[in-house]
Amino acid sequence: MSATHRLAAEGLTLAYGERAVIEDLDLAVPHGRITAIVGANACGKSTLLRSMSRLLAPRGGQVVLDGRSVHRLPAKELARTLGLLPQSPIAPEGITVADLVGRGRHPHQGMFSRWKREDDVAVAAALEATQTTELAERAVDELSGGQRQRVWIAMALAQQTDVLLLDEPTTFLDVSHQIEVLDLLTDLNRTRGTTVVMVLHDLNMAARYADHLVALAGGRVHAAGAPDHVLTEETVRAVFGLECRVVVDPTSGRPLMLPIGRHHMTAPAEALAAGEPIS
């Protein structure tokens, strides 16, 4: 139902001032799948996402969407294909849910064009999909954190893009709201074929919800692929500098990472790190 899009970073180098954050990075986002980018703090995962949505111009290389550099595409044209939900978007004081979601229609409207039926349809669909129809006339300030995040996703949905980038969509949410948001994104992916790319903090959430897991370290892709292949004890050691065990999550069948600290270990840490069976 959505056209096939190819989003990729080619030889991408990103820098703030003199300090290079990402160096010569290649990354292909699989179409119609959910991709999660993980990595240690300040490894450049948000920077990468910002550059993929043209917020940050590359120092070298390029981000390519369907064969064209995103930094050369007309702004509105790009915004009809690729949507972004930043980490902490700003809601103006007193704005209502319907108004905020309606602002997602901007790339589909000309400078003086009037509001059309298809705009209303898009807003209504976005509200339904995120189960926020009931909240439409409420002020965004009054909503709970989980509701607010769903409203922001609704705004990105009203934009009707085939590719959706999200920067840590679950930060500041408690665990049930995290699951709610990630389930919602999975629904979008399954029913609409939306390509989802998100930066996630929580490795286990990433492994559970992503089809494609990208681990960044030192400004490069350390490992990329199916979570079963990427989330290994070696990768976690290399990327986070942390000893851990990886077991199979009995609820999802995906890999589950269990960190090894210096305390509260049932067996000596060395033994666990060496891979001896738990219990």
Binding site: I90, D99, Q109, M111, L127, D141, Q159
Partner: protein, 350 residues
Amino acid sequence: MTAVVTPPPSSVDAVARYRVRRAARRRLVITVLAVLVVVVFAASLMIGRTFYPPGDVIRVVLGQEVPGATFTVGRLRLPRAVLAVVAGLSFGLAGVTFQTMLRNALASPDVIGITSGAGAAAVFAIVFLGWSGTAVSVTAILAALGVALVMYGLAFTDGVVGTRLILIGIGIAAMGRSVTSYVLSEAGAWDFAEALRWLTGSLNGSTWEATVPALVALVVLAPVLLALTRQLSALQLGDDTASALGIRVDRTRVLAIVAAVGLLAFATAACGPIAFVSFLAGPIAARIVGPNGSLLVPAALVGALLVLVADLVGQFALGSRFPVGVVTGVLGAPYLIYLIVRTNRAGGSL
């Protein structure tokens, strides 16, 4: 939960109905404000030391000769009232543009020093360089753009728009005011009333020569800002979100700043920096309109209404004649304090 690809017609209708309701409410508010502006404008042509009935006023405006009224209304009251409307619209529109763009009610051009920069340059050009008319306006606009540029450089390069920008603006405003005071203290031949024009703004002695440049600037620049309405609304969501919605953030911001600063500078060159109009218009308009869309037009109308009413009050309601800026200052500063108190209580951003 299953995501819905095609929403039921009922919910589409609900969305459409809500949108239409909000648009209607906005239109109603704008209409009422516009009518009020016209009524007060007409009243300010009729009221004065001598009262002229509407018939006389209309005949004067149409260019007919009416003994007495032709001079009083045509030469004194009409340019004054027109300048009040033009300056009010300009200050209101420019103020709400800054407030929307910087997402902060305190970031209005009179709080952050742009108006006082324009005023200082205008009075400098008049007193020291002996200039008048368009040259003064151009000096004012250059100075205001300079101040805006300095602010941009000082505050935006840090990647922080909010509090730092406002505090820096407070510093710049203090410098602008002290330059104005210095220039005025040098201009010994001036009387106090004339000096007040450049300190707080005044419509006394308005002439067509002063009014026309401001009017032309309004006609040229207001459409530029109105065409940016949607972009400015998107900028309210933060630079990243706006950019993701396909807005060219930097270009929009530069265009909006240049247009708003132009409006401010021409109005300031004509009647001085009328205190707090650009700060007040936006929040008042927000109160009246509610969360029903862009504030640009309502805020412009509120600005015009403020200046017209304050000028009438300053001329006739109090024992002696006060320049309009003293009235708006006395009204506006407490509102600023109220806004700070309210915001501090709520703990949110302005």
